[in-house]
Amino acid sequence: MNTFISGASGYLGQRLAMRLAENGEKVHALIRNPIAAKILDHPNIKIFYGDILDIESIRKAMKGCEVVFHVAALARVWTKDPNDFYKINVEGTSNMIRVSQEMTISKFILTSSTGTIGPSLNHPNNEDTPRWSSFNNDYEISKSLAEKELLKFVAGGFPGLIVMPSRIFGPGIASPSSGINRVIVGFMNKRFAIIPKQSHPKGNYAYIDDIVTGHILAREKGEIGEKYILGGENKSIGQLFEVIKKGVNKRGLIIEIPIWPMMHFSLISQFLADRFGIEPKITPDFVKRLNQDSAFDCSKAISKLGYSITPFEQAVGSTIQFLSKSQLS
């Protein structure tokens, strides 16, 4: 069975492609940048150069495949032109679906994000929680439009389903989409971190290898038209840093500051970004999210797919090990 992966040179896509290849499966990887080919160096991975915005290139790469993992997305909080989010995440998805339909693919797995469900209230969100909060950023909007697009095709008989990773971390290539990894590296190098005071809001932190397994499980057992949250444990930022500090096993300083100076700093960063195109270190919507609960409940994936969660401390431990090794090399 041949499997197609878009975004195979990305943080999650690369890990998924390598796992499948190591399991002895043939993988068709669609990538844009020839430099990225070396991270997909495996006899079972066939590389195709192209772009999800170029239908012809998708067609060539998808020939002979039965299953499609559509992992490619613009996953970050800021770009110079916000329209990029819509082009890549919405039009790109639509292109992928169209070609998959032509090729009569047997299953199409869209990698979305828990960001489309948004923050939680007193209880963790699940796949059916209606969105109560306004959208934080263009990324979230574009991903939920992509979901809608897929579900529209599913209503017409297209064999698509959706997996939604939460905040992802773990071993893998350096990328803007692995924010938690950068936080860990930052703490390892600088030995200090600034976190918001009263950081009790919980986030859901998912280990990349669990998410990769979840994708493969979704291919095998996922039902058409369904959504599955692929997450991890719900932790506050304070708890997250406690575990990181313990794992790094060196002295470090965690400074707690109120949220408002962060907000002001982020507003200035945003202003500079809008005016002069300087990439912001933190954006207002990021600070806002720091202050919101976004706990998730993955019991649907656990019961329906057989998904399992690596214990948080263990997962952070392996991540730190991996990151310190790659720091040395």
Binding site: P82, Y86, N122, H123, T129, P130, S134, I141, L145
Partner: protein, 289 residues
Amino acid sequence: MKHFVLITGASEGLGKSFAIESARRGMDLFLVSLPDSGLPDLCGLIKSNFDVFVDFLELDLTDDQSCMHLISLVKSKNYPISFLINNAGVGGNYRFANERFEVFNQMIQLNIKALAMITHELLGVLQNQECAFVLNVSSMAAHFEGPYKQVYGATKSFIFYFSNSLCLELKDTNVHVSVLSPGGISSNINLIRKSHHLDTFSRLTFLDPEFVAAYAIKKCLEKKMEIIPGMLTRGYFLFSKLLPRFIKEKLVKNTTTQIFNAQTVFNRKVKNGETTREKLEESRIKNVI
């Protein structure tokens, strides 16, 4: 005291945020919104997350009979409404001559008539409570007369005058009336996307509905009369009072025209198929600016 709040237009944007914020504060809720706008789901979410009573009614407040139906239902159920949030409203920027009158008629019906009627008929219920509040949603547009907002701005001016006048009238009673004048609110997908076409200042004054709702409820319960959320907007508002009329006019004209153009650019994009797939969203567009 435990409040019982009635919120109109509760299924989307600012209204939804009012509902969540009220539930957070432990208030019981009666939510009103258009049919098929996801109100039952919202009520389910609130019930499962907060220990409050929730009931709802789906109807279109643009006709008098529906308003009367709402009023008699609330009365027949004996809900002890102590907080009324008149949030439902429609807006938008239009060239007066180019638009069907029906559009403006709806604005007047919903923004003025429904609001006045509901407040009038439920005032008795409010007065029967220990302490009661009315929060009416006006707009910054009421304070800055600009082009393309003729009818919308006028309806919001009505709400502003009405609220302040009623507040004074009820001064020594147990009912307090507040009026909220928000600037831009990023209450739906299209407004966020449209805001990309605005300049930095206008974009920075855009506020989240969650923030506006929390701020407005807090200030209303503190018995503030006029509520303007957002420091920048508040600053701009106060500053504009000092400006001579001709400068103010020019500034307002610039901003309003910019918003109007942003809307036109966005709509044209949709028409050209650049964002075809959002047409569905577009049909639900509600301009709150």
